[in-house]
């Protein structure tokens, strides 16, 4: 009999921090006082903040118990489509935790932080080489901030050309961050549909591209997991009308060492270092969203930039067309170090291998689940494949039920109900770090769930039953928000 990872076990309850605390306890070793106490004027000083007081052991147990309520990549397969939940190498943690990096003040004089500036310069070179683009800024702190950076650069570029533009083309399969980032720059999104094959047609883009349009935002491979085969033609159409091409690099894990974003005609591309380059997602951040740009966009990159002057690394602000700064300091250095560590550990051959195996894993799952679940677009996919609940609907079972039931089998569910263009989407991205045995277990789980949907659909509607909590009432949470204790 197949043994699935999902099981039951003793899970401990844990109250909220302040329900545990008792006045008078402390979990902190205060440094010895070696200077005189100087009272602050009573008008300025308030009451001490009302924070829970607990011993070190209570604090540790609290968080260890909470950690055990979480599913993570280190716990098991996490095939969340478009999120690239690959294994996060542990040596990366060692590298960014070194006292020289962890303790570094961001405003150190340049001569006292040469190691940090060198790493920034080296990582920029790596990312430029990997994408085939000209120059890089590591400053954006997340993918969405990278998108905003790109849109700000589009805006600055067109203004510099003397012709500000008002619209931006965004395919209907795009992440919601694309139109939201464009809106921050005052752009009106012009949605364009994908064709029957799930990709963009050049004619569709040509029909809306005009000289009021700043450019297009394209995720490639797209969110259906398909390579935009006409991207070069589309880029030519956009460039011919003076527009620019934004590449959302969320799905870069499929094409490392294979596609050349420079040749394709991409002007700005953001990378998610927490996806493609293995840095941990942290339960929702911090990540990093560097932007890579073509030659015409380079003058608009954020400042300061690292340059080499007289044999040393220096900060330079000498870029008068720059859009300015996105973060107070230089970006999420702790994340950048991990990504650099990953690239240096793998090298060119292995990075290409990463994409090949990521694509192999997705196609293997696609082949094995095809027929059991409805495949939205039956074409060779890249690093992720998109199914739907169409075959389960006759049993009155939904994508949500399937996802919840998968938890009981010991897997994190795929991304669901996205992309919006596939109703009831189940978007599976296994990543390259999952072995064939794990994929087989996942496939068996999905097949078992499909059988349950037919024979015992109530089992799915009640799922999950093995997690810390059963289904949670999200409607009540939104209707009467309780956002603090």
């Amino acid at each position: 009999m197949t043994v699935f990872p999902g099981s039951t076990g003793l899970v401990l309850n844990e109250p909220l921090l302040w329900e545990r605390g008792r006045r008078g306890r402390s979990g902190f070793s205060l440094p010895r006082r070696d200077v005189e106490r100087r009272e602050v004027s009573p008008e300025l000083s308030g009451e001490a903040p009302d924070l829970p007081e607990m011993s070190e052991v209570d604090m540790v147990r609290h968080y260890i118990r909470l950690s055990q309520w979480n599913f993570s990549v280190d716990t098991g397969m996490y095939p969340l489509g478009s999120c690239t939940m690959k294994y996060n190498p542990k040596t990366n943690e060692r590298q960014c935790g070194r006292p020289g990096f962890a303790g570094a003040h961001p405003l150190l004089p340049e001569d006292l932080c040469q190691g940090a500036l060198e790493l920034i310069a080296a990582l920029e070179c790596c990312l430029a080489e990997i994408t085939g683009l000209k120059a890089v800024s590591l400053q954006p702190g997340a993918g969405a901030q990278g998108e905003l950076t790109g849109m700000l650069m589009f805006h600055a570029y067109h203004r510099h050309q003397g012709r500000p533009r008002s619209k931006i083309i965004v395919p209907d399969s795009a992440h919601g961050t694309n139109p939201a980032s464009a809106a921050l720059c005052g752009y009106t999104s012009v949605p364009v549909p994908s064709n029957a094959s799930g990709i963009l047609s050049p004619e569709t883009v040509a029909a809306v591209m005009d000289e009021e349009t700043a450019g297009i935002m394209v995720t490639n491979p797209n969110t259906i997991g398909l390579f935009e085969e006409h991207i070069k033609t589309i880029a030519d159409i956009v460039h011919a009308k003076g527009g620019l091409v934004y590449g959302d690099g969320a799905n870069m894990n499929a094409v490392l060492g294979l596609a050349d974003m420079g040749r394709i005609g991409v002007d700005v591309l953001h990378l998610n270092l927490h996806k493609t380059f293995s840095t941990p997602h942290g339960g929702g951040g911090p990540g990093a969203g560097p932007v890579c740009v073509s030659q015409p966009l380079e003058p608009f990159l954020p400042v300061p930039r690292v340059v080499v002057r007289d044999g040393a690394f220096r900060w330079s602000e000498d870029f008068p067309l720059s859009i300015g700064k996105l973060q107070a300091f230089w970006g999420n250095m702790g994340v950048l170090i991990r990504a650099y560590s990953y690239i240096m550990s793998l090298g060119a051959e292995n990075l290409k291998r990463v994409s090949q195996l990521a694509v192999l894993n997705a196609n293997y799952i696609k082949a094995r689940l095809k027929g059991t679940f409805h495949l939205a677009y039956d074409r060779p996919c890249m690093h992720e494949c998109v199914f739907s609940d169409k075959l389960q609907q006759p049993h009155k079972v939904t994508t949500l039920d399937i996802a919840k039931r998968l938890m009981d089998y010991g897997f994190h569910p795929p991304t669901i109900y996205f992309p919006l263009v596939v109703p009831g989407a189940i978007m599976i991205e296994p990543t390259e770090t999952e072995s064939k045995e794990t994929l087989d277990l996942f496939v068996e789980s999905m097949k078992a769930i499909a059988a349950e949907a037919r024979d015992n659909p109530e089992e799915l509607r009640q799922a999950p039953t093995r997690c810390t909590r059963r289904r949670l009432d999200e409607t009540a949470a939104a209707r009467k928000p309780c956002l603090r204790g």
Binding site: R25, V35, S45, G46, P49, L51, P52, E53, V60, Q68, W69, F71, S72, V73, Y78, T91, G100, F101, A102, G103, H105, P106, L107, L112, C113, C126, I130, G141, H175, T177, T188, E229, D260, G282, G284, G285, I323, K325, A328, F329, N332, M333, V335, M344, S345, E349, N350, L351, R353, V354, M407, H412, T433, R469, R470, L472, A477, A478, R484, G485
Partner: protein
Amino acid sequence: MRYLPHTPEDIAEMLEVSGTPSLDDFFAVIPPECRRSRPMALAEPLTEWELNAHIDALAGRIAVAPEFKVFLGAGSYEHFIPAALGFVTSRSEFSTSYTPYQPEMSQGTLQAIFEYQTLATRLLGLEVANASMYDGASALAEALLMAVRITRRSAVAVSRAVHPLYRRVVRTYLDPTGIRVAEIPFRPDGTTDPAALGNVQELAALAVQSPNFFGCIEDLKAFADGAHGAGALLVAGFTEPLAFGLFRSPGSLGADIACGEGQSLGIPRSFGGPGLGMFASRMQYVRNMPGRLVGETVDLESRRGFVLTLATREQHIRREKATSNICTNNSLCALTAAAYMACLGGAGLRELAQLNHDKAEYLKAQLRAAGISLPFAAPTFNEFVAAFPAGFRDTHRRLLARKIVAGLPLETYYPELPGHYLLCATETLSKADLDTLVREVQS
């Protein structure tokens, strides 16, 4: 490669199931004109041993304590991080999970963030805090955009005593929006000049930072009254939240939005990032707030649990009509800040804040006694401005060779303040360190 589990047999079997002859055939969909014309030119892969040596060498060329005495604050503060804190926050169930889209198997992150939101509101004296933003500077930019949405007005005023790098981020974010940004000057005592506020028409928000960039405590109450009188919101920024262990919170003084950098709360400086954008406001504005929010609810068996909520403000639902393009938070940093506050407790945070204040007061007194001018008279927390005599630039440079970073030269940011340096003293510097600095700057 140790992260790639596939054996040649696995690959052969999987290719067969996929009906694809070779790995290369998967990529036939990439047209030739989109492909790389040559392999990536990257360094040969390093073994773990070689990687350790390489990165250790880079890290070795950065000046850090205890070898160096770094009297720098200016938005990034050195505070002691207890061993227990690093231990719990490095649990990979927290660090290797993603945004808690599936609440049943993410209750650990969700409860931890709910706790963070709660402790953040208590520290900042406001009613609701989001699950965090990228950093203090982008949080300030988002706060001003939020105030514009709420008031439907078209101008904001930002004090020149707000961190200069934060003001640059605000300009970047607001540049394409057409929102006017007026700068409010500071007075001779180092605090923002309230008199200048009256000149700004269509004012949506006034942004003041306290403690401000010069370390001075601002009269937030007066600014709240001024802003409200003009029909605008007061956005209270900060870079050093530890100050609210000792000084009154922005919310209790009338701020409508408080936002700033939370790095001080147990997060390593890490050359400036990742940090923690803290963001709190009055409850009446919650639907205009950017960022993720965690809310309490119940499960099918009526047990308490937590979910992401009020998502209808967000980009994945509202797309271009969202309150922000922000997609995630700096979740692990928020969890760290909450665990740090729990380690200290209210009384501990108070005592640690008092000690920071006292260290800086001691340094001020010693410098003053040595004849160094402290130009700004307003009360300060753990950093302050000193004006050194002409020629101090050489002394500053000479001290670097003696492994002392004697503050941040302000002339770069404020041309009108030549010879002025921003000095910071936290609990991590001993009296002996402070005495050494005073002795050395005189020599």
